[in-house]
């Protein structure tokens, strides 16, 4: 009798457990995050190889916004993935996948995003942009199933860009640089990776227009303009970083002498290199090899190198950027 009772209680407990378990399974089939996601989340959860639930933390997980997608909006219905065909050795992949080894063509991958994001102002020029033409897909840079998308955080964005742009990775660590390593600026402050009407994916319509957003004092126009400045700041500057000061591509005088020919006969030389009286005397000219090499180089005298607005028509006239 005792054994029967024990067995009965065990049976009851087991029954309740099974019932509860079944109930729990029903519960797991309910949508967890997105509309209709139960089709996926019954297998894929946070502990899966492909954790998915964190998408709920993002804008894509805002169900109250009727425009937000569900899993199949991006990955396709993936019928054969959900219901593995009996004759398949391995479970077929979803209709659209986004990993680095995905066989889904980049255009099809991007279409999943652009079907909504083509409306975004910043993506108007995606078609024909360098990244589009080189088969870069949105997920080459963006992570969707995470609350922290590296490329949308200015502190971590550069490391995403440096995946391809290796030269710039080395340059930003040089002593003369924009505050990119310090996390105060990032690549997208100057470039729109989604395409622009300007060259080099510049955020504004040209290199100069982009630079002027922060360096508007260089815009002029000036009484005495310096033509290479007006054409392209990158004629003289490498904005990704240099060892020479002011992010100059080459140190003066070598930079300036790519175009200019004055102050003849000198070597580029330094104080204390044993110059004799003919090169360093009490009345030696200021246009010396030392003076155009050290300190600010040619800009020691031609100090208004971005242009001067001095109208003076008396001596010394400012047309050589003296004042």
């Amino acid at each position: 009798m005792k054994n029967k009772l024990i067995a009965a209680v065990h049976a009851l407990v087991l029954g309740l457990c099974i019932a509860f378990s079944a109930n729990a399974q029903d519960s797991a089939k309910k949508d967890l995050v997105l509309k209709g996601d139960a089709r996926c989340t019954r297998c894929h959860d946070a502990s899966d190889d492909f954790p998915v639930l964190a998408i709920a933390k993002t804008r894509h997980g805002t169900v109250a916004d009727g425009r937000t997608p569900t899993c199949t909006s991006c990955h396709g219905d993936s019928e054969s993935h959900v219901n593995k065909p009996a004759d398949a050795k391995e479970r077929p992949k979803p209709d659209r996948t986004f990993s680095k080894t995905s066989s889904t063509p980049p255009e099809a991958r991007n279409e999943a995003c652009l079907s909504c994001h083509k409306k975004d102002t910043a993506r108007v020029h995606w078609a024909g942009s360098t990244h589009q033409a080189r088969d870069v897909s949105c997920t080459s840079c963006h992570q969707i199933h995470t609350g922290h998308d590296k490329v949308r955080d200015k502190r971590t964005q550069p490391e995403v860009c440096f995946t391809c742009h290796k030269e710039q990775r080395a340059q930003i660590n040089r002593p003369s640089h924009h505050p990119i390593p310090e996390g105060k600026m990032t690549c997208s402050d100057c470039h729109n990776a989604h395409g622009t009407a300007g060259p080099k994916l510049m955020a504004r319509d040209s290199v100069n227009a982009t630079c002027y957003t922060c360096h508007m004092e260089k815009r002029g126009p000036f009484v005495h303009p310096h033509e290479p400045v007006n054409e392209d700041c990158s004629n003289c500057h490498n904005p990704h970083g240099t060892v020479a000061e002011s992010m100059l591509k080459v140190r003066p005088p070598f930079l300036c002498h790519q175009c200019h020919t004055p102050h003849g006969g000198n070597l580029a030389q330094l104080s204390g290199q044993g110059q004799g009286a003919a090169l360093l005397g009490a009345t030696t000219t200021g246009k010396s090899g030392i003076n155009y090499t050290q300190a600010r180089g040619c800009a020691n005298c031609h100090t208004q190198v971005h242009g001067s607005n001095n109208p003076s028509n008396t001596n010394p006239t400012p047309q050589f950027f003296f004042r």
Partner: protein
């Protein structure tokens, strides 16, 4: 017995209830877990950080990170995000580096899909890494005073430039297809930056003054020169306002808007006070020369004390219309039209700048620019992609001419900067058998600077060109060899050409005269690299290999060669660039990941001065990085990063013996046998960062960050081998060439949802 049975049954019932209770609790935990995985994460952290060494030791480390001035800092950060799942309302607040001088903070409110408004505040101080030892007082003002000091006996000064920015952005969906976006940003810049002035007498720009109202150079033997370090005073404001309407139809998007940008400068000019005695080139205090019959202030002293123009107020208004259109699913077009009206009409006298031409009170600067861009992409068949793009930029300088310049009898006008740029691109890409994909393209770019105005004169260059054009042919072959391996090889060849050279007429005649290459050729002339003919070859190869799911390897090589073909033999004649890079990423286990990279770049340039040095410059850059992140236990995560850079600039020089026939050239020629050359400039930096984060509770952790940075910047800009470059007033500038900084920071992090 019955009691015993009753007791047993009761025990078992309790056991069952306990089990049920446990299961019920597990179910509640599931819901909690799901909530934890799906709710927005927020955190607030507070702590302290301390960096070793003096300000000079931290000058490279602390250039922008807010840790130059003091040794210890408060570390405060905040990230708050909350969404109402029922309404889609978001509230976000964030603050970073709140205890440092590069702090930033922001707040945003949004109903996703309907509207959003956000505001952000940011401070950034650039601490110039150089230390200035000077007697100059009034740094940061428009009237600095120069005082003669013995070199090294001045006050150590570090220049700072602070940017304070406030931005407000908003957008609202007026209809499901119509979006309105607006933004405003105000940025104040305050501080000073390294600047200066110098002048050499005699000069054609400053002939001997003959009246008390003139300044100019005294006649020999009183002809002198001076170089002064004078920081530029900065007190300016930049404002940017942008408003856009974005309309999206089924097949097109149209964006129309206005962008205004406004620069105002509280400073119009800088007028220094300079003593009448400065050091001569040998370091001997010497009175500045006095033109015969006049005062010292009519000579070089007057030139040095004359007002220097600071950047003038300017503004630009841009109206634009851009968009795209999908003709079919596979054929799309993009376009942009913009018109920009930029002006600069700051009153000269209000800037403190006198002696403008009669009747001219401001430049009346006006630049009208038009941009037109149109592009089309198409995939006429599944294997073929086509792309074409046209871009026209037309900048018209409508600033009136005035005779601003007077050099004795020579009078000439300001220069106008017109520019018409045309860029065109066509490209085709075809999917070949065996997973090859081939791309061929052609780019054409031209610049037309307009006819050179007759009242204008050119200074400082041998010749100009009105037009340049460049055509590039390029191709790429890419192959996906397997799911785990792909590679690409790209090449490009371009040639830049230009219109006939324009030789500046000899003053007093203004304007230019067209000349054929053989006419304009001069053995001692350098032609601006901007205008010269150029052949450029480029090559790029990349290989991506994923040997396992856990390991990825990427190799890249790039090369370029420029050959400049000017009518002469001087100036920039040749340039090369090479880059080799290897990257690796390895997920060693579920909890450990290792990344590493190594790259080597080399660039060379051949630049020959017209009558002086023959320079062969090279830059060699080696970089190495290793990063590791791991989670040794569920509560403990650690990481480390090692970044190394070794950058060497080499300056080899010879002398054009034949060209250097003047006295200076002969003196340099005599100096050449003992000339040690310019030492290599070496920048070497190693930075090791380690962090560990330990979860004290589910919602609290401590994070410790350790950093050590060693930097060496061995250069001669401000001094060489212990010999400083000395300005004419005794000012010297230096930088600690070997800097070591250790930093330790600890933060308590509170996490919540």
């Amino acid at each position: 017995m019955g009691a015993a049975r009753k007791s047993t049954a009761r025990t078992q019932t309790l056991l069952a209830l306990a089990l049920l209770a446990a299961l019920g609790s597990a179910r509640a935990d599931d819901a909690e877990d799901v909530a934890k995985l799906t709710k927005q994460d927020s955190s607030a952290s507070a702590g302290i950080g301390t960096a070793s060494g003096s300000q000079r030791d931290r000058s490279l480390f602390g250039q922008y990170n807010g840790m130059r001035e003091k040794g210890s800092y408060l570390l405060l950060d905040l990230d708050y995000a909350k969404r109402n799942d029922q309404t889609g309302y978001w509230t976000r607040m964030w603050g970073r580096n709140l205890g440092l001088d590069n702090r930033e903070a922001g707040v945003s409110f949004e109903q996703q899909g309907n509207w959003r408004i956000d505001a952000d505040y940011s401070e950034l101080v650039r601490h110039d890494p150089r230390t200035i030892n000077t007697g100059v007082t009034g740094i940061g003002t428009t009237t600095p005073r120069v005082n003669l000091i013995a070199p090294g006996a001045g006050t150590d000064t570090n220049l700072e430039l602070k940017r304070t920015a406030l931005g407000v952005n908003g957008k609202i969906w007026l209809t499901p297809s119509l979006l309105f976006e607006a933004s405003f940003k105000n940025e104040d810049k305050d501080g000073s930056r390294l600047w200066g002035r110098g002048f050499t007498c005699t000069s054609s720009a400053a002939p001997l003054p003959t009246t008390a109202a003139q300044i100019g150079c005294a006649a020999a033997p009183n002809s002198q020169w001076a170089l002064l370090m004078l920081p530029e005073p900065i007190n300016s404001t930049t404002k940017q306002l942008e408003a856009k309407f974005n309309y999206s139809g089924e097949r097109f998007t149209l964006v129309g808007g206005y962008y205004g940008s406004f620069y105002t400068n509280a400073n119009g000019n800088m007028t220094p006070s300079v003593p009448g005695t400065l050091y001569n080139p040998l370091g001997v205090p010497t009175a500045l020369g006095t033109p015969a019959g006049l005062t010292q202030a009519n000579g070089l002293l007057g030139i040095l004390q004359s007002p220097m123009a600071l950047p003038p107020d300017n503004q630009a208004h841009q109206f634009s219309l851009s968009g795209n259109y999908a003709f079919t699913q596979s054929t799309r077009a993009t376009f942009k039209y913009s018109y920009t009206h930029a002006t600069q009409d700051r009153d000269f006298l209000a800037m403190g700048l006198a002696n403008a031409p009669a009747g001219v009170s401001n430049l009346s600067g006006r630049m009208d620019s038009t941009l037109l861009q149109a592009g089309v992409t198409s995939r006429p068949m599944p294997k073929l992609s086509l792309l074409a793009n046209l871009r026209i930029e037309d900048r018209k300088d409508k600033t009136p001419d005035a005779l601003y310049n007077l050099e004795g009898v020579n009078r000439f006008a300001n220069t106008q900067s017109n520019l018409y740029r045309l860029g065109a691109k066509v490209e085709g890409s075809y999917q070949l058998p065996k997973n090859f994909r081939a791309t061929l393209g052609m780019d054409y770019n031209s610049s037309d600077r307009g006819a050179f105005g007759l009242p204008d004169s050119v200074g400082g260059v041998t010749a100009l060109r009105q037009k340049n054009w460049e055509t590039e042919y390029r191709g790429e072959i890419r192959r996906t060899m397997s799911e785990n391996f792909s590679g690409a090889l790209a090449f490009g060849h371009s040639r830049r050409d230009g219109s006939i050279w324009l030789k500046p007429n000899t003053l007093p005649a203004t304007g230019v005269t067209p000349m054929a290459d053989n006419q304009i050729f001069s053995r001692t002339a350098g032609f601006p690299a901007l205008f010269t003919d150029r052949k450029r070859d480029k090559l790029r190869g990349i290989a991506d290999w994923l040997p396992t799911e856990q390991l990825s390897v990427q190799f890249m090589v790039e090369g370029a060669h420029d050959r400049y073909m000017e009518p002469g033999t001087k100036g920039l004649t040749d340039g090369t660039a090479r880059l080799y890079s290897l990257d690796m990423s390895w997920s060693m286990s579920e909890n450990w990941k290792l990344t590493a990279y190594a790259s080597r770049g080399k660039q060379t340039m051949e630049i020959d001065h017209s009558t002086g040095y023959l320079a062969s410059l090279s830059n060699i850059n080696n970089s190495l990085g290793v990063g590791i992140n791991g989670k040794p236990s569920p509560k403990f995560s650690v990481g480390g990063n090692l970044a190394f850079i070794n950058d060497r600039n080499i300056y080899k020089q010879g002398l054009d013996v034949g060209a250097s026939g003047n006295a200076t050239g002969l003196a340099n020629l005599a100096f050449l046998p003992t000339f040690p050359g310019l030492p290599d400039v070496v920048f070497r930096q190693t930075r090791l960062t380690l962090f560990g984060e330990y979860a004290l509770e589910k919602n609290a952790a401590v994070r410790v960050t350790l950093l050590h940075q060693q930097a060496k910047l061995n250069e001669w800009t401000w001094g060489n081998n212990g010999v400083p470059f000395i300005f004419s007033d005794g000012t010297t500038i230096s930088l600690n060439q070997n800097q070591r900084v250790s930093y330790a920071g600890a933060q308590y992090i509170y996490k919540f949802q």
